[in-house]
Each structure stands twice: as structure tokens, then as C-alpha cells.
Amino acid sequence: MSPSPGGAVDVRRTASTRRYLMCPPTYFDVVYSINPWMDPSKPIDPDLAALQWQRIRDLYVELGHTVEFIEPVPGLPDMVFAANGATVMDGRALVSRFLHDERAAEAAAYTDWFVSQGFEVRQAAWTNEGEGDCLAAGGWVLAGSGFRTDRRSHVESEEFFGRPVIGLTLVDDNYYHLDTALGVLDEQTIMYYPAAFSLGSQEILRGLFPDAITVTDEDAAAFGVNATSDGHHVVMPAGATHLAAELRSRGFEPVGVDVSELLRAGGGVKCCTLELRDPVPAEPETRPASRSLSVIVTSVASDSHNWNLVFLQLHLEELGHQVLNLGPCVPDELLVSECLRTRPDLVVVSTVNGHGFFDGRRLIGLLRACPELAATRVVIGGKLGIAGPGGRRSRDELLSAGFDAVFEEGTGMVAFRAFTERLTAGADR
């Protein structure tokens, strides 16, 4: 387990109410084996399974969430695992196409339910096992493949939801669905079991979620990450004790439940729960423990590019900040006078025409020459040189010229986001 770089800080986590779809375990049983957890020779205790499922459902209601039900279908014992039925974002439902014939007929039941509820519905063209393999986090869709969902369906998800897909490869058949190896705690925070992923996917996860919680072998085997989170409360198997302690130290509130009987079919809390993400109003989610920054977004005088500036404005506004966007081709004097007039918390210089190194060096000198702006946070990012990232030397030169941070194309946005988070948490001052 990694000692979290965020540390055991007093982050106040905020819960938001969710809408879940669940399927009663009326016909739940283990009569076939499509994953290593299933052993049809050992009988299931249906009453115990029902009790465990009921407890999860009751907890959701106690936590203030809405639970919808889909009618179980006789002969479909795995239908209780509603997470596998579809992926739902922004009011659009991409209904699953199951790999195994044993589960294929579930898709019709889920399709009918979503159509009857007024969702925009499509059934996946390629094998795709819903939220079992597709999880929303950080504005992306994290999408697993390797055992069930076909990689070609990742493209389909990207098109259907209009969100970028991050493909992740699973390599351990005990963790055959993404949601058995990775859990989303809030938009910025995930927990995962690294050994379930290919080396490349591990690297992607480290890059995108540097503050993620990584779980132990024991917690992974207890299906610890197969949990649901409302941003504060994490409903999870009681057996994952290390993980529960780690979550607590990060400001989450773990709520343990017994899922032993469900686990005999290879399912846990998350598997029983499909999140219905309705279209959200444009209002950005209020972020915990943060303050709103006033930010000037600008380009340099010689750069007429627009879309990078539009992107940064949207991104910063989504994080709850106030943005004054000066647009492209900003003359040096105009930037200085706007900074003096509005006294921003942060100035973001974004440029992609390859002159950023020279223009930036000149600009920061002018800003720092004003006593009022000597301590203002000023960062620069984009494509700063004409021949790709300029490396350490040009970065150091921009830093010593007076920039507080330099974000070059490539991993720049992840680092930029981390920088603004430190600023809003006040940790940087």
C-alpha cells in the first residue's frame, strides 16, 4: 500500500445523491461457471444472498440515494449483477452485449427497461459488459478489456457518450471485469489493484491518478474495490480491512457489508449496482475544501490560436474558478494592464505556435517588473518550442525568469490540475 502523497489530510469529502438501478436476486444461483469464482457444485444459500443484497439496498436508501428496480427474469441467475447490464451517462444508456451466451438474454430486459424510462438507448455492437468494464472518472470513461469487453467497443463508447475513453488492459482472470480491479471514489480519486493490469495500463493509471489508492492482494481478493462511493461514503465488503483504514485516512467513510454469498458468483457491491447518471445541469460540482480562484487565461502577442484557450476556460470553470479569458494575440501591455486592473490569483499563459519560450521570457519580465504583480502566480504551458518539448534547460530558464510553473505538452494537463488543486487548498502559500 502506498503511503498516500496526499497524506492523511483533513480533506472534507462531500457526498452527492445518486440514482442506482438494482435487480432483486430472485433467481440468483450458480449453475454455470464463467469466471474462476463460480463453482456450480457448491449450492448457494438463496436466503442469505437475498439478505446480503437487501442490506446493500437499505444502505443506499439510508444514505439518501434513489434506488430503481428492474424485474428479474427466470433463467437469468446473473441478472442480479445490474452493473453489467449497461453504461449510463448524461441520460444515454449503452446496453451491454454479453460475451457468454448464458447472459446474452439479459440485454433484452435491460433494453426494454431503459426504453420504458425514456433514455436514449443503443445496444453495443461489440462485446461490452456495461459498468463492469466502463467507469466514469475525471471526465473520461475508464474502459477495461482483456477478458470480456472488446476493445472495439471502447471506440463505440467514446462516440456514444462523447467522452474520451482511457483503455485499460486486464491480465488476471480473477479480476475479469474492470470493476473488480478498480473503483471510482470521486471524479479525481480512484482505488485499484495494480497487479490486475498490464504494465502499460499501470503506467497510464499512475500518470492520470497520481494520488490513487492502491490496494493489497488480500483486499483485492475480498473484492474491496468492487464498491460504490457517493463522494464521501464508500459501501464496500467488510473484509477489506486495510483498504477501509486507508479510505478513512483520506477522509472517506467506509461502510462495510457482507457479500460472501454474492462473491461465490464473482460479484460484489458494485456488481449489484448500476449508476444512472442523468443529464446533469451545467452547474459545476462544488469541490470540497477549495476556494474559487480568479484566473486570467491568455495567449501571447504572436499566437492566434483559440481552441486551447477555450479548453482551459471550460476546464477551470468546471473546477469552480472565475475566468477572464483575454483570447489570442494579446499584446504584452494589455496583459499587464489587465493584471493590474483585476489582480488575479493566477495567470495562465497558453501558447501553441512554438514562440512561447521567447514570448514567455519577455512577458514574465514585464509582469514581475510591476511591484503589484511580483508575487502573483503566473504559469505557462502548451507547445513552447517549435521542435517539441524543450526539455529541462528551457524549463529551468522560464522558471528562473519568474514563472511559478511550466507545463509542456504531453503530461502538462495532469500536472496543471494538480497545481491548481494545491493552490485552492491553500497548501501552496
Binding site: E120, G162, N306, V310
Partner: protein
């Protein structure tokens, strides 16, 4: 779809024959295009511009010799565009490469030498520049004997400069007057094309694009031009594009009287496909759009677009691919008894564009002043454009069928006409995804099957595939 699209279709090329023999000689750019159009040929045009006079001349010659009905292009460099002639001249002096032809920095004899024996009534050459204050450019091109160019007081101001809109408008008033004088002597008829159909390259819904195209051409006519062209840049959905160009043609006929006017389509101006096949298919779609809608001219993009400044050979390849695709589309349409041309579902583009145009016209008889006032009032509002004179309240998105829609109209007077879309405002992640929508659509080969599956609208349940039929 791609069978006749490739440049390998020899039979479809043969119709290119002798593209310049329309009979008689054209007095102007507009007349050349009109003759070609009457003869059933789509005029295709590159975007090329080279800093070296030798290379520029070679580019024009290759364009002229391409197996297609072509007009030539001289695209200017960005120093000349912003009026920084000192930097352009310094680069010419030191032999440094610029990203276009510095028509002001090169002396007159040099530019005449580039055109000598190539440009003429049967091969008109247009200057493309991107300048919000183009007087110096107009003077230079006229001095060199050219009489066709493009741009506009709004379309070359808002997206690419910080020039106040009012100063761009007054500069364009003077520039139009300069150009119009040419025609009064009984010489060549000057031609001016609006860039209004492009605004930001992507994510601008068609009604605003065509309203700006029409308004800028009306502005040109008000300031003395008698030969103009109206532009429209290919967007994200072929059906929507068809409806838009047909609406543009109808509006041109209704709003521009007694002048020569034609429609020019731009091949997609946003993030371009990276695969040669994807880039070719996108260009082919643009050529088909032009033929289907009765446009007279097409400005092409090349397979190299996503990587680098295209070479002369890249350009010739694109011109010939587009001409072949246009010929194939024309033959196909001839086989279907005239129904192919001029039909598209009316989703309200024409009505929206008319309302926008009327709102500007009602602000007063001086169109320049009316345009400035319309932007101030937010009656015209280009989504995502950060220019200080743009209201910046309108926003747009790509819906699930690939059509551009408004998510916010700001103060534009089209409220009663827009359909409630239930759209969510575009997020930063959604923006990235939208900007690459066309690139992904054309680059992802495996998407073919996906696109063939209809989206099932809520409430129209149809049986999913029978249980057990799922592929492994």
C-alpha cells in the same frame, strides 16, 4: 463508398479532358467559374502559398496542369497578413522560409514574373490572406495584375485578430472601394469571396455560417463589387451540410440582386484525419456535397494536412481526387433522374439564417455599421470565439447524430425556431472530443459497422438481437 473515391479511378478522370475549353475567354474569376459551372464542371482550387517565387510559380503551373478544372491560389504568409512588412522583408532578404508568399515584400517585377504566362483569362489566380486590414494586400495584388481575392470584415477579424471589429470594417470599406475601381475602367471584373462560411473552422452551427456569408457578400456589393462568391465549410454531418448549402444558394438568390455570385465549398477546416484513406474520404465527401448542392467551386485539403504544410504534389493529388469524385457524383446523379440535386430535410437552417440576416439589416442601411452593432447587441455571436467584440454567450455542440446544434443562443434572434435539445453545456473533455469528431469518424476504420447501426430513440422500442446471437 471508397471505390470511386480514390485517385485510381481512371475512367472517372477521363471526363477532365480539356478543362479550359469552355469557349470564349473569361474577363474575370467569376466569369471563369460561371462558364465551368454551366459546362457541368466543378472548379477545384488548392490553398497553396510558398515564400520562394520560383516554388510559387511551380505550384501555380502544377495546379494549372492538374487533370481537373482549376483556378490558382497564392496564399500569403502571416507577417504580411498582420501588416508586419518589416519582418516579411527581413525574411525575404535573408532567404528564410515563410509560411506563405510575401506579396508586399517581394517587388512587383518578382510577382509579375511568378504569374507571367501562367495566370490569365483561362487560369485566374486568387490571393488568399487572412488579414483584418488588407489595403496593402489589395494594392499589391492589383498592381501585379490580379483581381480576385477573399476574406471579409467579420470573418478575417473575429477569429484571427484582436483588431477592433469597427476598424476592420472601415479598412474593408476602403479595400472594397479600391478593388471595385478596377472594374470601372472596363477591364477585368474584380471578384471577392467571403470567408464567412468558415468562422473558427469548426463547431459553428450552419445557420450562422451562411448568414455571415450572405451578409459579407451584401457588404461587398454595397461597396461596389459586382462579382462575389459565398462560402460554406464542410462540417460534421453530410445531410446537415446539404441543407445548409441549399439554404445558402436560396438566400444568395434572394438577397443579392444584379450581381454575379457563386457558391464555394471548403473541404473540412477543423482537425483533419491522419490516415490517407480517412483524409481522402473526407475530401471526397466535400466534392460530393459541392456537386449535390450545385456549388460551383471547391477548395481542397490534402492527405498531408494533419502533419505538415502540403507539398505541390500533395495539392495536385487532392485536386485530381476531388475532380474525379465530383465527376462520379455527377454521373450518379444523372442516373437518378434529377432527384439527387436540391433535396434535403428542412430542419430550420434557412429560417434561422434569414432571421439573423433580417436582424442585421433592420439595424440600418449601412451594412458595415449594422454588422458592428449586431455583434455589440449579440444578434450575431460566434460560439467559442474569444474576440473582445464577440458577445461570447452562444455555445454549440455535436449531437448524437453528428449534427451541429446550439446549446446556448445568447441574444441571437432565433429563439422561437430552435428546438429544445435538452443539451448539456459542453465540458472541457467534451470540447476535446468534439474538436476531433470528424477526424475520428474518418480515421477509425472499425467505425464503419458502428455507424451502420441506427440509434434507437427512446420510446421506439424494437427487439434487440435474439438472445444467443451475440458474436463471440
Amino acid at each position: 463508398m471508397s471505390a470511386e473515391a480514390g485517385s485510381s479511378g481512371d475512367s472517372s478522370r477521363s471526363s477532365g479532358g480539356s478543362p479550359r475549353s469552355f469557349g470564349g475567354s473569361s474577363r474575370s474569376f467569376g466569369e471563369f467559374v460561371a462558364r465551368a459551372h454551366a459546362a457541368g464542371e466543378l472548379v477545384v482550387q488548392p490553398r497553396m502559398g510558398m515564400s520562394s517565387p520560383i516554388t510559387m510559380r511551380a505550384g501555380l503551373l502544377a495546379t494549372k496542369r492538374a487533370i481537373a478544372t482549376t483556378v490558382g491560389t497564392i496564399t500569403l504568409d502571416s507577417y504580411t497578413r498582420v501588416g508586419d512588412n518589416a519582418s516579411a522583408a527581413a525574411a525575404v532578404g535573408s532567404g528564410a522560409e515563410l509560411n506563405g508568399y510575401p506579396i508586399v515584400a517581394h517587388d512587383l517585377a518578382t510577382t509579375r514574373g511568378v504569374l507571367e504566362g501562367i495566370a490569365g483569362p483561362e487560369f485566374p489566380v486568387q490571393v488568399r490572406h487572412g488579414s483584418a486590414r488588407p489595403e496593402h494586400i489589395f494594392r499589391a495584388l492589383m498592381a501585379a495584375g490580379m483581381h480576385a481575392t477573399e476574406g471579409g470584415p467579420v470573418s478575417y477579424c473575429l477569429p484571427y485578430s484582436r483588431e477592433p471589429l469597427e476598424s476592420s470594417i472601415s479598412s474593408w470599406v476602403r479595400s472594397c472601394a479600391l478593388l471595385a475601381e478596377l472594374g470601372e475602367g472596363g477591364g477585368a471584373e474584380p471578384h471577392l469571396e467571403t470567408f464567412g462560411g468558415c468562422m473558427m473552422g469548426q463547431l459553428c452551427p450552419p445557420s450562422l455560417l451562411i448568414a455571415l456569408s450572405v451578409l459579407e457578400c451584401m457588404f461587398f456589393v454595397q461597396h461596389g463589387l459586382r462579382s462575389v462568391s459565398l462560402s460554406y465549410a464542410q462540417q460534421t454531418n453530410a445531410d446537415q451540410d446539404t441543407e445548409a448549402v441549399l439554404a445558402l444558394r436560396r438566400l444568395a438568390a434572394e438577397r443579392l440582386h444584379g450581381v454575379d455570385a457563386h457558391i464555394v465549398v471548403y473541404a473540412y477546416m477543423g482537425v483533419y484525419p491522419r490516415t490517407p484513406d480517412g483524409a481522402t474520404r473526407l475530401l471526397t465527401e466535400a466534392a460530393r456535397l459541392a456537386v449535390r448542392t450545385g456549388a460551383a467551386r471547391l477548395i481542397v485539403k490534402t492527405v498531408a494536412e494533419a502533419y505538415r504544410i502540403p507539398s505541390i504534389a500533395d495539392n495536385v493529388g487532392a485536386l485530381e481526387t476531388a475532380a474525379a469524385a465530383a465527376a462520379a457524383e455527377r454521373r450518379g446523379a444523372a442516373g437518378t433522374a434529377g432527384t439527387a440535386r436540391g433535396t434535403a430535410e428542412d430542419t430550420g437552417i434557412y429560417a434561422e439564417a434569414s432571421a439573423l440576416i433580417d436582424a442585421v439589416i433592420e439595424l440600418g442601411p449601412d451594412l458595415g455599421a449594422a454588422l458592428a452593432q449586431a455583434f455589440k447587441a449579440g444578434y450575431l455571436d460566434v460560439p467559442y470565439c474569444l474576440h473582445p467584440d464577440n458577445a461570447r454567450r452562444a455555445r454549440s455542440y455535436i449531437d448524437t447524430t453528428g449534427r451541429l446544434q446550439w446549446s446556448s443562443i445568447g441574444s441571437m434572434p432565433i429563439r422561437p425556431m430552435i428546438k429544445p435539445s435538452g443539451a448539456v453545456a459542453l465540458t472541457s473533455a467534451g470540447l476535446i472530443s468534439s474538436l476531433s469528431y470528424v477526424e475520428r469518424k474518418f480515421d477509425t476504420a472499425s467505425l464503419g459497422e458502428y455507424l451502420a447501426l441506427p440509434v434507437r430513440p427512446a420510446g421506439s422500442a424494437e427487439p434487440v438481437r435474439p438472445a444467443g446471437s451475440a458474436e463471440r
